[in-house]
Amino acid sequence: MNSLKYCLFITLLSGSASASLNIVTTTTDLRAIAAEVAGSLASVESIAKGTQDPHFIEAKPSFMVKASKADLIISNGLELEVGWLPSILSGSRNPKIKAGEKGNLEIGPAIDPLEVPTGKISRADGDVHPDGNPHFTLDPIRVGKAALLIGKKLGELDPPNAATYAKNADALNARLTEKTKAWMARIAKTGVKKVITYHKTLTYFLTRFSLETPAILEPKPGIPPTSGHIIEVIGLIKTQKIPLILVENYFDPTVTTKIKQEAPLVRTVTVPVAVDGAPGITKLDDLYETLVKSIEGK
């Protein structure tokens, strides 16, 4: 009888182990959200690293192996992964996670994207995303909404634990909503109103915290800075008294050297823009805190 109980116990244990969800995310930000919402009920891995430009990840076959075992793939969408995710999905030979299936969640289109082009678009305008700016995980409020979407999806895939996922997602959403108020107050106190960035990575963050972006160091999205454009930017910094340049840390920051020579008052800071983008950035809260401190000059 004891041995029967032991066998039953082992069976239950193995059953619960196989029930845990295997989630693959395209970015470390999405991994951080999914890991918090899923808690111990899922394993979560990211394809991109926090130090990499997520537009240009290579579709390594090892990612296909990871995706082949996934119950769910969570992607950013808005064409952030257009150059690499389709190859990983088809190479995975996992029908559960192909586009349109239950195991495929694309967050971007559902979180009210910014900078959705109107009218005709052309690649002469650079690396324009037809469905809007994809870097929404830099906005803590939209990340709260993303957590709710992920919680709902996990509940569909694992109904017995749906309440836990919903609770975790609500907690993350509430915490970030609360912290955003504090971050807003701190940024307002700095007096900084205008910030220049290298790429439009920080648009959501700056918009959330009512900071203007009078210029981007790239002359057009995806095009490296040219000397003519940098001279224009220096002119703007001087005339508009722009106090701060934030350079996303997967771009070459040396372009700011010339700007500092011409406009010595401007502060230039290289910042992480993703979870794991720098040591100690293990959660999105850490990332936003670092960005707020960069604006505060701490």
Binding site: Q52, E58, P61, M64, S68, V82, L85, P95
Partner: protein
């Protein structure tokens, strides 16, 4: 061999494809139109060993190396389809008339399963898995031209036949894939049987290991057999080794690829013009691509054709250097120099080529 068809015929064919298909007509807006893209390669080349006759497809001077039009889409819940047509200059008859004529070729037209777990079945005309380079389209070649072994053993177009293919992911901790292909032997060089019932066979094993977050090692083996133009069973075998390095930090600005590939064949019964046996022939190529800035690459390649070497065959060695500037994902400019030496010739050949590579349309998903 491509059929000379006027360019407007291509336009008509494409229009028919896009507008005559019931799904495309019935769809609201453009939602169900296939992804459509066009690529073209312009080439300016001057070489001591290259023809000055404009009617020869590979001639000195300015020319359109190739244009490709690709359509791809999911067919339904079970299949996706790819149709890729290439247009390039064909031999003109008579060769001396000086005109340039172009032909269209269904370079790859196939359907592929999207709903089967663990396996991808493909059917249609496709580039077969004989090594790594054979699977590349011209616009994705690491150098402007193909390796020596490709044109010598499987022809300029490579081994690109009507086939059925199954690619299975082996359940291993690393990426391991076995591809089995059955094909009709209609190749210009290696396999060319008049018997319509003849089927060739190919097996490829591809493995890829992540040595670290920054470095991968890929190792592939391929073997194939089929009837040749003498209705004898020919075989070909290849091995490829690729190391890729792209650092997780700063990987936008620096990366390195080192590839080596060998292809050998036993072309049973094949003789040269004097009746000498030239059946067994193989070639090796090795190259390095180094990305030294966000949009700049420097590359070097060394090749040998003649491993093994038939007694009466002159071994050929070639060295190439290339500088590439890629303004965006959709355009590229490349300058290449080649030094080629055949054992039976006193003088070497020198070639300088400049190529522009342009893509418009749907954003491609890049292969690794």
């Amino acid at each position: 061999m491509k059929h000379p068809i006027q360019g407007r015929l291509l336009a008509v064919a494409l229009s028919s494809f896009l507008f005559y298909f019931p799904a495309a007509r019935a769809a609201s807006g453009k939602a169900f139109n296939p992804d459509l893209s066009a690529n073209f390669l312009g080439l300016i080349r001057q070489g001591t060993g290259i023809s000055n006759n404009r009617s020869n497809p590979d001639h000195n001077g300015v020319r359109l190396q190739e244009a490709e039009i690709q359509l791809s889409s999911d067919v339904d819940v079970y299949f996706k389809a790819v149709a890729l047509f290439s247009v390039s200059q064909t031999d003109t008859t008579p060769a001396a008339n000086g005109s340039t004529e172009y032909g269209i070729d269904p370079e790859e037209v196939y359907l592929e399963t999207i709903s089967l777990p663990g396996v991808t079945i493909r059917a249609g005309k496709m580039k077969l898995g004989l090594g790594k380079h054979n699977q590349l389209h011209t616009h994705a070649y690491p150098f402007i031209d193909a390796p020596l072994f490709q044109s010598a053993l499987v022809g300029d177009e490579g081994l690109n036949e009507t086939a059925v293919s199954a690619a299975v992911l082996v359940p291993a901790p690393w990426f391991s894939e076995i591809t089995v292909q059955g094909f009709t032997p209609g190749n210009s060089e290696l396999y060319r049987s008049r018997e319509s019932g003849e089927i060739g066979a190919l097996v490829r094993l591809k493995n890829l290991w992540d040595l670290s977050d920054d470095t991968t090692l890929e190792f592939g083996l391929s073997g194939t057999r089929g009837k040749n133009s003498l209705e004898k069973t020919a075989t070909a075998y290849g091995g490829d080794l690729t190391v890729k390095w792209r650092p997780s930090e700063g990987g936008k600005y620096r990366s390195l690829i080192w590839n080596s590939e060998y292809l050998g064949a036993n072309r049973k019964g094949l003789t040269d013009g004097s009746g000498n046996d030239v059946a067994k022939l193989g070639g090796l190529t090795t190259y390095v691509q180094y990305q030294f800035a966000e949009r700049w690459w420097a590359q070097a390649r060394g090749e040998v054709l003649g491993l093994p070497k038939p007694t009466e065959f002159a071994r050929v060695t070639k060295q190439s250097a290339l500088l590439a500037f890629l303004p965006s994902e959709f355009s590229g400019l490349r300058l290449q120099y080649d030094h080629t030496k055949a054992d039976d010739r006193e003088k070497s050949d020198h070639t300088v080529s400049f190529q522009y590579n342009i893509t418009i349309g749907a954003h491609p998903a890049h292969a690794y």
